[in-house]
């Protein structure tokens, strides 16, 4: 028989720990005592290790509940006592006492937390209750910070201190910082206590304070002083936040201040008499304007508002300027004031408005608006440039001229009627070239290059043609001088400029009965020229020439430099001493308007070569002109000043008519161009497209465009669609 092995079972060693039912209570009593000592700031005698172990054991033996509840009770009780102390303190010491209680509490709770750390790690997690430190915060909050005797008093005290500081007193910032930090902490991972108990009210009282202050200040002070104060206040508030408020308040208080101090008073600040935005602009106060810009930038729509007001002011000033009758008498002054105005705002843009592009744009628009209010602007700008490109400028260097011209080009860009400018510029250039008055070829070419950049090749090709003509003419003259015909002019020295038609300003063939001396010369030259250049046609432009004529007086002999027409007129007086306007006209066949102008220059100008019986600018057919035998002048050679640079009404009307004619053709050309490429187009789109294409030269009136369309329909360049009346078709 086999023997059975005995079964050995190994049982776990069960240590019967006799847990003394009082164990938990005893341990708790120990810990409680320790907490009391901590509260009494008497913790030096405690053993951290022992206390920690005790707490640890309690948790281990499942007495966590007891521990936690006990903790809660002890702290709660203690804090109630503290609350009494705090509430009982006098006003001056109130904040200090609260702060002290808070500091003490924090110290105590830290120590308590360290002791009870195991509970935090294990019990708190499992039972989802607030950890020790947070529990302490909540107890402090409910017992002290929000206790009925403390809460309101606390708020009042803080706000009171802030108010004091705003009126200039020094306060204890460190204390306040500690208190606000306390409020933040008491929120336990949220800012709710700080915001509810303090910030909300702070913002409200600040708003009221600034509302009142700004109202009072703005009614008794200038805008610039007010703005200085606003800047100061803003700085102060930022400072306040940095020193003793929570950073989350920064944007909120900024908003309040900006609203009450700036937004609420924008209109007043702009319009205030003597110191508002308008006044500052008038006086060029760039520093104040800069401050205003920066302040208004803080408020939504602030800059929009300011920009619009400035734009309107610029429009008004500009409008007055261009409509000022005094300025209109003197083109140079007119343009110079425009330049000065532009300079002023360019400077302000940089110095005060931070080169803000929207401001620049709106000011430019204002300039565009008022410059085009006066129809003479293109003419005057051309005259101004003419003045700068002529000889005889005193003390201005080439670089300075270029700078001025660049500035004028900025004004040119604002012109809507650039085609009018082109016509005038051509005229003025023609005069400069023919009379030899330009400073230098270089300056002229520079100017043309600038115009080319602005307006394209079309604009300037004819101008360049004029230059070429001058060169060719010079070469032709050389040949003429060397030719056999040169000596056939019988004592009259002839110089001829040959102008290609189309390049030069369009002139109708001017009539004039040349005296034999002159017509003889013309024939001689014509023969010479046509020998060399067959197939060309020469037409004498008697209205554009000049010449020297010798006059023999009793006292002294003079030489007059006059226009061709004037030569013809003066030579008449070789035959007769006195003639009426009618007789002169019949003899010379010069057109009436030109004749009058030329006669007046001889009879009513500075040098009275002729006498006029009725001394008036309005000459009539019966006005008599006589040879002035008593003419005297110190100089031998006398230059009769050329006729007025500025056009008179009649000339201007003529010019306008030419411009309108040209525009009609250009509009039609544009219409045909557009229709040719699009084949079919709706009325509104066609008009829009045409306007767009021509906008670099002028702004066509939609009604005129429509008329041109109808004219083109009549001439069968295009037709209306049979199905839709608003649609046009191109007719090939």
């Amino acid at each position: 028989m086999a023997s059975k092995k005995p079964k050995i079972t190994i049982k776990p060693f069960r240590h019967q720990i006799q847990v003394d039912p009082n164990y938990a209570e005893n341990t708790w009593k120990l810990l409680k005592g320790a907490i009391h000592e901590i509260h009494k700031r008497n913790a030096s005698g405690l053993s951290f290790e022992e206390l920690y172990r005790n707490a640890y054991n309690m948790i281990l033996h499942k007495y966590g509940d007891r521990l936690y509840k006990g903790l809660q009770q002890v702290v709660d009780e203690h804090l109630r006592g503290v609350a009494e102390d705090v509430a009982g303190s006098v006003d001056d010491a109130f904040l200090e006492s609260l702060n002290q209680a808070w500091t003490d509490h924090k110290v105590s709770m830290l120590m308590i937390r360290d002791i009870l750390m195991y509970m935090d790690r294990v019990y708190v997690q499992q039972h989802n209750v607030p950890p020790v430190y947070d529990l302490g915060l909540m107890l402090f909050r409910d017992n002290i910070a929000r206790s009925t005797r403390v809460k309101d008093r606390l708020l009042k005290t803080i706000l009171g201190m802030i108010q004091k500081e705003r009126t200039g007193e020094m306060i204890n910032r460190g204390l306040l910082k500690s208190i606000t930090q306390m409020l933040i902490d008491l929120g336990v991972n949220s800012r709710s206590v700080y915001e509810e108990d303090f910030e909300k009210h702070f913002l409200e009282t600040s708003s009221n304070f600034y509302k009142a202050e700004s109202q009072e200040f703005i009614s008794t002070n200038s805008a610039s002083d007010y703005m200085k104060k606003v800047s100061t206040r803003i700085r102060e508030e930022m400072d306040r936040v940095a020193h003793y408020l929570d950073s989350s308040t920064e944007s909120k208080i900024k908003e309040v201040v900006e609203k009450e101090l700036i937004a609420a008073h924008m209109k007043t600040l702009i319009e205030m008499e003597g110191s508002g935005c308008i006044a500052l602009l008038a006086d060029d106060k760039s520093e104040d304007l800069g401050r205003m810009y920066n302040l208004f930038a803080r408020v939504s729509n602030g800059l929009e508002f300011m920009k619009d007001k400035i734009s309107n002011y610029v429009k008004e000033t500009g409008k007055k300027m261009v409509q000022d009758p005094n300025k209109q008498k003197n083109p140079d002054q007119y343009v110079q004031s425009l330049l000065d105005l532009k300079d002023k705002y360019d400077k302000l843009l940089v110095q005060a408005f931070n080169s803000d592009k929207t401001f620049q744009h709106s000011i430019n628009q204002a300039f565009e608006y008022f410059i085009n209010l006066n129809q003479k602007s293109p003419e005057f700008i051309s005259l101004f440039i003419d003045g700068k490109l002529k000889k005889g400028q005193k003390g201005i260097s080439d670089e300075e001229v270029e700078v001025i011209i660049d500035k004028v080009m900025m004004l040119f860009r604002f012109l809507q009627e650039k085609d009018v400018f082109e016509k005038y510029y051509k005229q003025h250039l023609a005069k400069r070239l023919l009379l030899g008055r330009s400073i230098s070829d270089d300056s002229e070419r520079n100017m043309i290059a600038k115009l080319k950049t602005e307006c394209g090749y079309q604009f300037t090709s004819k101008l360049e043609g004029m230059f070429t003509d001058m060169k060719t003419s010079a070469a032709t003259m050389e040949k003429f001088k060397a030719s056999k015909e040169w000596n056939q002019t019988h004592g009259v020295t002839l110089s001829v400029h040959i102008l290609t038609t189309g390049f030069w300003p369009a002139q109708s063939a001017s009539k004039c009965n040349l005296p034999t001396e002159l017509s003889n010369c013309c024939e001689v030259f014509k023969k010479f020229y046509l020998d060399v250049n067959q197939g060309r046609r020469l037409t004498w432009q008697t209205n554009m020439g000049t010449g020297d004529v010798k006059a023999y007086y009793a006292s002294k002999n003079h030489e007059f430099n006059v226009s061709t027409y004037q030569i013809v007129i003066l030579l008449l007086f070789n035959e007769r001493k006195e003639m009426t306007l009618k007789e002169i006209q019949e003899a010379t066949a010069i057109p009436e308007a030109d004749l009058k102008r030329n006669l007046l220059a001889l009879s009513m100008g500075r040098f009275k070569v002729l006498n006029q019986d009725e001394k008036t600018q309005n000459v009539s057919m019966t006005t008599k002109f006589a040879y002035n035998a008593a003419f005297k002048n110190n100089l031998v050679r006398v230059k009769i000043p050329p006729l007025g640079r500025v056009q008179d009404q009649g000339q201007r009307q003529q010019m306008r008519q030419k411009v309108d004619e040209d525009r009609k053709h250009q509009i039609e050309a544009a219409i045909v161009r557009v229709m040719k490429s699009r084949k079919t187009l709706e009325h509104a789109s066609l008009v829009a497209e045409v306007i767009k294409q021509l906008s670099s030269r002028f702004l066509p009136d939609p009604v005129i465009v429509k008329k041109r369309i109808e004219s083109l329909i009549e001439r069968e360049y295009m037709e209306r669609s049979k199905t839709d009346r608003k649609v046009y078709h191109y007719v090939a």
């Binding site: 509104a684 429509k706 109808e710 009549e714 009346r725």
Partner: protein, 147 residues
């Protein structure tokens, strides 16, 4: 159809006037009517004394009154347009485009020009007529429409 004009030797507005009632049946058909209207421009051009590409005002007025005016309803503003033509010395003739467009204008336009669009492609002649009429007869037409 148009041969008929030649056949009957309608060589003047007066004869046309007397012929209109006979055409009344054909005139009731809107397409035919439109063609007759458009044709009348050519016909009017040919019978007038001068040889131009446009219809002189007097002829235009007569034709408009005859043709459009003969329809009792459906074509508005005929009388006032003729009045405008008479009163405006700068307008001396109508071209084909204006003639044709007036047809559409007269047919579609309300009494008070409510549905008149200034930016649409009406010929300037008609734009000016509307402006003239508005300045002139606003109050009158309001009165009339109340009855």
């Amino acid at each position: 159809e148009w041969q008929k004009f030649k056949e009957l030797r309608i060589d003047g507005p007066t004869k046309l006037k007397s012929y209109i009632p006979q055409l009344s049946n054909e005139l009731k058909n809107p397409d035919t009517f439109k063609k007759i209207y458009q044709y009348s421009f050519n016909w009017g051009k040919n019978i007038q004394s001068s040889n131009k590409g446009v219809l002189e005002i007097d002829t235009a007025i007569e034709l408009l009154t005859l043709i459009l005016g003969s329809q009792t309803k459906g074509y508005k503003h005929v009388d006032s347009f003729c009045e405008y033509l008479k009163e405006t010395p700068t307008v001396r003739a109508m071209n084909r485009d204006q003639w044709d467009t007036f047809y559409t204008f007269s047919k579609t336009m309300n009494d008070k020009f409510d549905n008149y669009d200034e930016d649409a492609a009406w010929p300037t002649l008609i734009d000016e007529f509307v402006a003239w009429k508005r300045k002139k007869g606003c109050s009158k037409s309001i009165l009339r429409s109340n009855y």
